[in-house]
């Protein structure tokens, strides 16, 4: 799957007009002879199929190529950018799952109540909006108008103290709005599934039997929740690629210098090597997320364990 995704990305980006050196600004400044030399140096003068074969051979040697948009090895770019995106995504994923499960479970146990209806409405509204819109609204409200949070970036341009505690708090301060942009939608998404799963489980025969035998309602809910978690665990694996897609927009709006923003710039700049490597990384993360979800399902549901 990773190979297919990387190949598709490699083919698709080369169908877009231009290459790393075909930019209106560049051709207005850089003589044609210099562009020709640089194309040869970058291998861009070769036919696309030959470029692809060269790239595959380089991958086999562990060489991810040269980033034309950052003028440095792709390995360096990924080493720097991936942790920043993982940091943002993993916090958003964890919060989305925890809060989504909690909210959905509560809703499932109180179907039809005022609280359930209110949160259903809110989650539907959140679910309907794209991440970038929510990000812009949060930035306008909490950063521009109220001034409670910085508008963008991962850290302040100037820190007044170099203590590690202050640096950590500065990072946390910058993290809030981007994290919230991803988490709100993730939570709404998970809560809706959890609510539906709880409703289905409460109708199951084993729950009725438990109630019939006089088990306390709290205990009934605990057992029901465990059964209702199974579809949500699978959902967790699917959340990884959608969170990454959201991260691309959120990183762009908040100038969060992660992998999403790097890929966006690389695509616009026709940085073929960085786009190819980036797609491989994202595909691998998706596969890993699905695999982790499968493992968790086996842990949670003994019936699905093999052997």
């Amino acid at each position: 799957m990773v190979f297919v995704a990387a190949t598709a990305a490699s083919v698709l980006i080369r169908t877009a007009p231009g290459d790393a050196l075909t930019d209106e600004g560049t051709i207005g400044r850089m003589p044609a002879a210099v562009r020709a030399t640089r194309r040869v140096q970058l291998g861009l003068d070769l036919p696309p199929a030959q470029q692809y074969v060269r790239r595959l051979r380089a991958y086999s040697r562990g060489d991810l190529g040269w980033s034309t948009s950052e003028e440095r090895p792709v390995n360096e770019v990924l080493r720097e950018r991936i942790p920043r995106t993982l940091w943002l995504m993993s916090l958003a994923l964890a919060a989305s799952l925890l809060m989504g499960i909690a909210l959905g479970a509560w809703q499932g146990a109180h179907v039809g109540s005022r609280g359930d209806r209110a949160w259903s409405f809110v989650s539907l509204v959140l679910f309907s909006f794209p991440e970038f819109w929510i990000a812009i609204v949060l930035m306008l409200l909490f950063a521009s108008w109220l001034g409670w949070f910085p508008t963008m970036g991962m850290t302040s341009d100037i820190a007044f103290e170099s203590s590690s505690m202050r640096a950590l708090l500065d990072r946390a301060h910058h993290l809030v709005l981007p994290w919230l942009s991803l988490t709100l939608i993730g939570t709404a998404y998970v809560a809706r599934f959890q609510r539906a799963a709880m409703r289905d489980v409460f109708g199951a025969p084993f729950v009725q039997t438990a109630r019939g035998k006089g088990l306390a309602e709290a205990a009934v809910r605990r057992h029901a929740l465990r059964a209702a978690l199974l579809p949500v665990i699978a959902l967790g694996g699917m959340l990884v690629p959608s969170l990454f897609a959201g991260a691309v927009f959120v990183e762009s709006i908040f100038a969060w210098p992660g992998m999403g923003l790097a890929l966006l710039n690389a695509t616009q700049g026709r940085d073929y090597d960085l786009v190819g490597a980036g797609i491989i990384v994202v595909s691998a993360m998706t596969v890993a997320g699905s695999f982790a979800a499968e493992l968790l399902r086996e842990v949670a549901d003994p019936r699905t364990r093999r052997g």
């Binding site: 007009p17 075909t22 209106e24 003028e71 302040s156 820190a159 007044f160 100038a255």
Partner: protein, 555 residues
């Protein structure tokens, strides 16, 4: 204390510590000190001077590296008058004027402490002109034959022929590089070396750090022989786009934004902390015609291959009104193929007057007549219809394209406007697959850009214009030592371009710059607003928190 309170106590303690820490106050004296944040929507790819492509990294490189001498504020290129000494403390011309010997400052040193020597100058020229380095500046150094070392502090430039701008060629384009850090790397690999990501220069600022995707920081070099920069630090803060940069500026998180858009100017003027400056630009915008049929280098364009059509279009468009409409006070009608500051005798240039009656007559005489009910001019069954390509990145150019479309419609010409992203535009231009393109041309003071853009076979001559008369005029102009003869020949060059109309010269922008009121910057030089960055300072009476950080690490 309850259990719940105990659970939250560590968090409360952390917040209390964080919130009560006060910013450190660094000692300041007069106008020394302060931090400036420049917001910029484009991040440079490298800080290796020969491989700088684009203006986004130039201010940083100019602050960290040095020229041998700095051009004067009048941007005179025809002699060495007005140049300020930088790495060179003096220079001597040979009797035949085919060489200049530069004496280097013995106290100048690189930021790693190694002294600057003549071999650095020799290495610099080799790097800028090496084919594998592929510097876009190489073509501007064509008259320099070689650079030799007479002794450790004397570098000699040898020229191929006597030209008025020899001194300019030797000093303007090249930032001197540290050979001791680079000459062990092959020229084929030097552009990729880590030096481009952590440069070491000799300027009054030194490079501090580069957080990719976030910022570049430079700090004052306190041991510089010409004196430290007045500001403690300058930070270039990168944002994904123009809109984010504007948000950061108006939120007080940045002090300087060079490319503020016209739509935001009113807000800058209302801001209590910001002020507006305008800097003359070293460029102009034009409607460049493809003089050949699309994708051809030989077949004349069915419309623009005829000079009568080009002149008629010039008569049909009210450039003064367009400039007022789009730019208001932030631009002038362009006079010719150079900004005013590079045209020696602007009064002598005669423009093609706006005259729609004459335009119609000229179209008619060129065979383009209105015959059908659709009121579109045709010739031999072919409609007068073409496409204008304009870049997505420039609102002004898009507006001009629409205004041109509207004015030409009234004269029976059907224009389609195509707004495209930079890559699509670049691909179309490179492949000569366009009709007309609203293009911006940037120039250096040397006016070599005129021959690059309009000379036969010029490297940036995307319109395919050829004129032996213009080529001869340009050659006369660039070799004219006498100032009167220079003025006359350059006037002839610019007049030829107006008469021939290979492109319609639209406007010359004045760049609005938004800057924090506390910053004292002096006059912004037309070719480089950052030229005197080391002398910029903060008004001591208006210092804010970020001015009190001092020279320690900003992070």
């Amino acid at each position: 204390m309850t259990r719940a309170a105990l659970r939250f106590a560590p968090l409360v303690l952390i917040c209390a510590v964080a919130c009560t820490e006060k910013p450190a106050v660094a000692p300041t004296a007069g106008d020394i000190g302060g931090s400036m944040i420049i917001v910029q929507p484009i991040e440079p790819a490298t800080l290796f001077p020969p491989r700088m492509n684009g203006t986004e990294g130039l201010p940083i490189i100019d602050a960290v590296f040095d020229h041998l001498a700095e051009i004067g504020p009048d941007l005179a290129v025809d002699s060495d008058n007005g140049y300020a000494k930088k790495l060179a403390t003096g220079w001597t011309w040979s009797g035949d004027s085919l060489s200049i010997a530069f004496a280097l400052d013995p106290k100048a040193h690189w930021h790693d402490g190694v002294p600057v020597r003549a071999k650095d100058v020799r290495y610099t020229f080799a790097a800028y002109t090496d084919d594998s380095v592929a510097s876009e500046t190489k073509s501007l150094l064509g008259n320099i034959d070689s650079v030799t070392v007479r002794d450790s502090l004397t570098a000699v430039f040898w020229f191929k022929r006597r030209l008025p701008h020899q001194f300019f060629d030797a000093t303007y384009h090249m930032y001197i590089l540290p050979s001791h850090l680079l000459d062990t790397i092959s020229m084929a690999r030097v552009s990729d070396a880590p030096f481009g990501r952590a440069p070491i220069g000799s300027g009054r600022f030194r490079f501090r750090q580069w957080e990719r995707g976030a910022r570049v920081e430079i700090i004052a070099d306190t041991s510089n022989s010409r004196g430290r920069a007045k500001l403690d630090r300058v930070i270039w803060s990168f944002t994904p786009d123009f809109g984010s940069a504007t948000v950061k500026l108006f939120n007080g998180e940045a002090d300087f934004y060079e490319a503020i858009r016209p739509d935001n100017l009113a807000e800058v003027e209302r801001s209590p902390t910001l002020r507006l400056m305008t800097a003359p630009a070293m460029g102009y915008t034009l409607l460049m015609y493809n003089l050949h049929a699309r994708k051809s280098n030989t077949v004349p364009h069915p419309l623009f291959g005829d000079v009568r059509v080009r002149r008629a279009i010039a008569m049909a468009l009210d450039r003064t009104k367009m400039a007022r409409n789009v730019l208001d006070t932030l631009g002038y009608v362009a006079l010719s193929a150079a900004p005013r500051v590079l045209i020696p005798d602007t009064a002598a240039i005669k423009q093609i007057a706006f005259d729609t009656v004459a335009a119609r007559a000229l179209f008619d005489s060129a065979g383009w007549r209105i015959t059908g009910a659709d009121k579109i001019r045709t010739r031999n069954g072919q409609p007068f219809s073409f496409e204008i390509l304009a870049a997505q990145s420039s609102v002004s150019r898009q507006r001009y394209a629409v205004l041109i479309q509207e004015q030409l419609r009234a004269l029976g010409i059907a224009v389609r406007v195509r707004i495209a992203d930079p890559k699509t535009t670049g691909t179309a231009i490179e492949g000569h697959n366009y009709d007309a393109w609203v293009s911006s041309v940037g120039m250096t003071p040397g006016r070599l850009g005129v021959s690059q853009t309009w000379g036969t076979g010029g490297e940036m001559n995307y319109g395919g214009y050829t004129s032996p008369a213009l080529d001869a005029s340009i050659d006369s102009a660039i070799t004219a030592f006498d100032s009167t003869r220079s003025r006359i020949t350059w006037t002839r060059v610019f007049q030829t371009l107006i008469d021939d109309q290979p492109g319609l010269f639209l406007y010359e922008p004045r760049t609005p710059v938004a800057i924090h009121k506390r910053l004292r910057v002096g006059t912004l030089r037309a070719d480089a607003w950052y030229a005197n960055l080391a002398d910029w300072s903060v008004d001591p009476a208006q210092r804010i928190d970020r001015d009190r950080v001092g020279l320690g690490s900003a992070r």
